[in-house]
Assembly symmetry: C2
Homo-oligomer: 395 residues x 2
């Protein structure tokens, strides 16, 4: 019997199928240019390649993604997607499948990953508090209820990572900012700052990890904590800024995480007004206002800080404007599509990806020429997140 | 004949070897936590994993790596290693093999990659000029000789990437700074700034891509170009800084690329003196000096800017010092090993990797506690480069 016939007689399955880990293995590739776009309505994400400007595939079954966000493992292979329904899903961007999933709360509003990449934390409305998971296994390693009185918990907002396995967050119902150190996850230590101002509704940390800033819903102004100072304390800044005394209708609360810090200035969405506020980050005083085309939602700096891009609430949400930070002027206004929900810059800022929910389109725009480099078909796209976030503080 | 016996009779090679692209394919993994360490004496690099804090493998045959540096493809899979002998080697970090190599000059001193990741540029002493290569194929796409008189070329130093396929560099022998726009690589356009000061010997661009700063060997001071201003011009700053009138012996010229920018301050190695200079990056005036343990070589900021780490020239090159930028005090002094040549921070700054050439060791140190987390055996290690550099301007 000839060798060829022997092989035929054996009716061998395709060779690749016999080799563990080979047959279904996608081609080897880097992960530095990967990302995902949330398909808000379908409960799925598409994995994208920012070099090819293309959709690589889709991963479904992620639950309610109506206010979803994502963080990334430090190797860039996995995304952790936080769903509104409390689902936390670990998505393998290379194999494009769900690598793990837990229902960790009833109502959740995002999360963070520790600076060393070992811990993933979720901020929850119901039950109020944060939960911390092993980034590899999604096993629960710490549970910090935001208990403000016996049996009474606060909703948690504005969760960010700080250096050293620490997380900062705000308690909407308790006028507090808490900082939890999970160096030993079995015994988390929480520093509690009370009386920081009424109803913190969102927050951010500056790119250097120094200043934690919470927006206040219940009064004018913002609460600021200098995380490099000892002892930690919150102080009130920008008393003219806040929502409290604001008579104008607010169509959508701005996202504080979208705040742009460029050089020593921060660019903030005014609440209710068609303005972007300019703030000096040393004095935390307002130093200017820039008129824009609507109520700003996201105000985001290109990574080099030379430009700030702005999208808007209803009814101006088909538009995007670009501010030149050197001249403080709007230098570009355009309409990439209906219902612009989010923007994400490529790591070095040569391009920006923009989601237009109601046109089911993501546009890739050159930030120097403002030409559209590509458009991608995505079902009701909302948040766009690139793996380069793994390398940045407070993302 | 039983199936098992049939298989034995066939003396099949390992199944994996029969499947194209499988047998030699390493396991699928992300590239966000990869990097390389140059083995200066052996002409090789080791590929490292910053999550496992381990050496994954070695790639040899890279030529003279006595002053080698590296940049990374935007997907994080490939390193471009610039050798002193003019060799440009593309290393596949996943497969741990040479993916391409060209001898592009006789004497070279480093390179850069364009913001969009498509072009790799090398700066050359002999013949003087820059050469630009297709990042995918290493095909030469542009050659810009630094011709300063008929038949006379300058050595090129201080090459950095700028936004928009542009590169800035300095001409040591022509007292000039050139900026070449390779938007159309077939027709590069070069802006030439002359009379910038005598003998620029190295340069950097600030992390926001705005200021290009060249150190001067032939006179006191530095040449500064504000790349956001029109028209471009160079001006002299820090006239007390330079090498020109310096009577002290200089054991090793500091690396300007190592300069730390933290907040609005830059920390610079003093030349010849046991000091780190503190400079305000708005006025470009000196605002302080910090006494350190020797002549500083690299002065590098932790990514959050809270700490600045310093290594030293002979005879103090076994030591490392850490400056707290809030208090401007040295807060730590230690000796990780003999002949500390380079430092590299993990992307979010939780750890730093330090090469000790004469102890053939790389130490991984926790930047909060200063404890040594791991030591790796590496042959005469010099430069350490992590893939996160792909996401940053001017690296």
């Amino acid at each position: 019997m000839k060798r060829r016939d022997l092989l035929a007689a054996l009716a061998l399955p395709p060779l690749a199928a016999l080799v563990p880990g080979c047959a279904q293995t996608p081609a080897l590739r880097g992960t530095g240019d990967l990302g995902l776009v949330v398909e808000r309505a379908a409960g799925s994400v598409v994995v994208v390649d920012t070099s090819a400007r293309a959709v690589l595939g889709r991963v479904g079954g992620l639950g309610d993604l109506s206010h979803a966000s994502a963080v990334f493992s430090r190797d860039g292979r996995y995304a952790y997607v936080f769903g509104r329904d409390g689902g936390l899903t670990k998505v393998d961007l290379l194999e494009r499948r769900i690598a793990g999933r837990v229902m960790q709360a009833g109502n959740s509003i995002g999360g963070a990953i520790s600076a060393d990449g070992t811990l993933v934390a979720a901020q929850n409305y119901t039950p109020g508090g944060i939960k911390v998971f092993d980034a590899a296994t999604l096993a629960l390693v710490a549970d910090v209820p935001a208990e403000v009185a016996p049996g009474q918990r606060s909703r948690v907002v504005g969760l960010v990572d700080l250096p050293g396995r620490r997380f900062a967050y705000s308690l909407f119902d308790a006028d507090a900012i808490w900082i939890t150190d999970c160096s030993d996850p079995a015994a988390p230590k929480t520093t509690k700052l009370g009386g920081i101002g009424r109803q913190p509704y969102d927050a951010l940390v500056t790119p250097d990890g120094r200043h934690y800033v919470a927006g206040l819903f219940g009064e004018d102004g913002l609460a600021l904590v200098d995380l490099w100072a000892e002892p930690l304390r919150a102080r009130k800044v920008l008393s003219g800024y806040g929502r409290g005394q604001e008579p104008l209708p607010v169509y959508k609360m701005p996202h504080l995480r979208g705040w742009a810090v460029a050089g020593r200035r921060a660019y903030l969405p005014a609440i209710g007004r068609h303005e972007v506020l300019v703030v000096d980050t040393e004095s935390w005083q307002e130093v200017g206002r820039i008129a824009v085309a609507g109520q700003p939602v996201f105000v985001m700096a290109r990574p080099d800080g030379r430009q700030v891009w702005v999208n808007f609430a209803v009814p101006d949400y088909d538009r995007v404007q670009v501010i030149d930070t050197l001249t403080q002027q709007v230098v570009q206004t355009f309409s990439p599509g209906k219902a612009v929900l989010h923007l994400e810059f490529t790591p070095r800022g040569d391009a920006v990806w923009i989601s237009s929910r109601d046109d089911h389109r993501v546009s890739v725009v050159d930030t120097a020429s403002f030409t559209t480099l590509a458009t991608l078909a995505v079902d009701s796209p909302s948040g766009i997140f690139f793996t380069s976030r793994a390398n940045r503080l407070g993302m």
